[in-house]
């Protein structure tokens, strides 16, 4: 009886996950979707505690510890999630993702303890599922923690010599060990060796990948954790875990691919870090004799104030400098002067797709002002001034004109169509892709060097004066 109720609760939870995810993909229903999925989760957890029956009687300690874990987790989780800055969102997601991975790995460890005593002859599917849950969970855990550390700036980019070769060898070792384990039967020593390798692999896997690629990695690790959770569900025949896990696994994979597509790169390219490691120094050719033209802050202020329409292109640099609030202030000032201001959001602007929207929304920028690439590209020709803040590759015309460029084919914001382009930048360093941006040398382009936030503050003050 109670077992059936439990199954029905899991069914409801599964439905809320699907519905929640669906609603999350629409701006109007997104928040409700999140709450619905959360409600489903609550149902699944409460139902499991109250209705799950195994060997009952005398398990007071177990219940005590479960509630203790739930309470501590809830308190810490809520505090962390409430306190985090909007700009630090990606690393927060990464951290929580790592926790999920750890949970899946820990489950596999305990189940393995139980499993050792069972005597299965022949193909041991349960062991395989356990191993996969363990491996994916721990890679996801250590990888997410490294990604978290990198985005927090606590861990520096570090590329080991032959990092990719080492990674390949480790991956190969893992596969071989799994096969060996499957053939020879469960061996505790081997199990823990695998756990160790998986943890180290997670570290080495994320270590060489550059900051701007982190979102792709986090998204991928997110789908990993989903898979790990699904393996756990498979182990227990638990439908709620299966639905939740697989949904996230496949949705996360699609999301990862979408992100890669927006950057015109393949997933392998991102993961092997070919791009990132080749970045510094390289490809600085053919620009030696060209020079850029600078513009002063006061000139910029005048130019902006007397324009009809201005488009702001926010990028990674704006996010890093946390300049979204001051940016919005500038926008409001210009609006008061009768200038039409819009934001052009490249699909991969910021640290994650959509991250820029979140940041701007935090600064109260109206939803309608944020325009997606397809919409805004047709409007650039009628734009007086484009202000590019801390973005580079997403406005590089080489993506359209130069077939030899590594970013050729990547969809870009066609700011070179506008009448004037002002680039806010720290210095002349090449963008993330490590390639020169010919846009900087166009006659209509003016450079405004300096820290994004400080420059915008000065600029806002100047615009007030005009």
């Amino acid at each position: 009886m109670s077992l059936n109720i439990l199954e029905i609760c899991y069914l409801i939870a599964s439905l809320t996950f699907i519905l929640g995810l669906k609603m999350l993909s629409n701006p109007d229903s997104a928040r409700k979707g999140n709450l619905i999925a959360a409600a489903g989760m609550l149902i699944a957890i409460i139902a499991t505690i109250t209705l799950y029956q195994d060997y009952d009687s005398g398990k007071l300690i177990n219940y005590g510890l479960i509630f203790l874990g739930l309470i501590i987790g809830t308190v810490i989780g809520t505090i962390m999630a409430k306190k985090v800055q909007m700009t630090s969102m990606p690393q927060m997601v990464s951290f929580f993702n790592g926790m999920g991975g750890a949970c899946a790995a820990l489950i596999a460890i305990i189940e393995f303890q139980h499993h050792q005593h069972s005597t299965v002859t022949g193909f041991d599917g349960e062991l395989l599922v356990m191993l996969l849950g363990l491996l994916i969970g721990s890679v996801s855990f250590s990888g997410s923690i490294i990604a978290y550390g990198k985005l927090e700036g606590k861990i520096q980019d570090k590329v080991l010599p032959m990092n990719q070769v080492i990674n390949m060898v480790m991956l190969g070792t893992i596969v071989v060990l799994i096969i060996y384990q499957m053939v020879s039967g469960s061996d505790p020593l081997l199990f823990y060796v695998l756990l160790g390798i998986a943890l180290i692999y997670g570290v080495l896997f994320v270590m060489p990948i550059g900051g701007a690629d982190m979102p792709v990695v986090i998204s991928l690790l997110n789908s990993f954790t989903g898979m790990a959770a699904a393996f756990g569900g498979f182990l227990y025949g638990n439908k709620a875990m299966l639905t939740g896990g697989i949904l996230v696994g496949s949705a996360g994979t699609i999301l990862t691919i979408l992100m890669c597509k927006a950057m015109n790169r393949s997933l392998t390219n991102v993961l092997l870090g070919a791009f990132g490691s080749a970045a510094p120094g390289g490809a600085k050719s053919a620009s030696g004799d060209q020079s850029v033209r600078e513009i002063s802050i006061s000139d910029t202020a005048v130019l902006l104030s007397y324009s009809q329409s201005v488009v702001i292109v926010p990028g990674y640099g704006l996010a890093v400098a946390q300049a979204q609030h001051i940016c919005h202030e500038l926008e409001k000032l210009l609006e008061e002067k009768g200038v039409e201001v819009n934001y052009a959001i490249h699909p991969v602007a910021g640290r994650m797709p959509g991250h820029m929207n979140v940041l701007l929304a935090e600064a109260d920028v109206p939803y309608e002002r944020m325009q997606e690439m397809e919409e805004i590209n047709s409007k650039f020709a009628n734009t007086d001034v484009v202000v590019v803040i801390g973005a580079n590759d997403v406005v590089n015309p080489a993506a359209k004109n130069d077939p030899s460029s590594p970013i050729y084919g990547m969809p870009i914001l066609e700011v070179d169509q506008a009448k004037n382009v002002i680039i806010l930048k720290r210095g002349m360093a090449a963008g993330y892709a490590g390639i020169e941006n010919e846009l900087f040398f166009y006659p209509k382009t003016r450079m405004l060097f300096g820290d994004a936030k400080a420059t915008l503050q000065k600029l806002t003050a100047e615009v007030k004066e005009v």
């Binding site: 999350l24 999140n34 505690i49 195994d54 874990g69 305990i110 498979f234 496949s250 979140v358 939803y367």
Partner: protein
């Protein structure tokens, strides 16, 4: 090989489930505007926190004198809960900001 096949055969229901859920996952999110990618990722992150249910099951199965299982299980429940609660709260915070917009206009 035969054993592998028979294992799959025994779990056919699960295999169907797996395949359908994969397709569903792809279908459900394939039309997402880029604007929602981050909240969606965060929401999905919270949903895979359902793994905490597994941790609770582990705890319920563990015998009260198996301290190793109890402590590891406790840790699993703790981190799993972190994933669930943190994930949902963060997502809600992100979406809260989007919510303001339509009201204003």
């Amino acid at each position: 090989m035969e054993q592998v096949l028979s294992y799959i055969g025994e779990n056919m229901e699960m295999v169907y489930f797996l395949l359908l859920a994969i397709l569903l996952g792809v279908e459900v999110i394939s039309n997402v505007p880029a604007i929602l990618h981050t909240p969606l990722m965060s929401g999905a992150n919270a949903i895979h926190g359902v793994v905490v249910v597994g941790a609770i099951i582990v705890m319920l199965q563990a015998s009260p004198d198996n301290y190793l299982a109890l402590s590891v299980g406790f840790l699993a429940v703790l981190v799993g809960t972190l994933n669930v609660i943190g994930g949902f709260v963060v997502t809600d915070r992100m979406l809260e900001m989007f919510k303001k917009k339509p009201k204003k206009s």
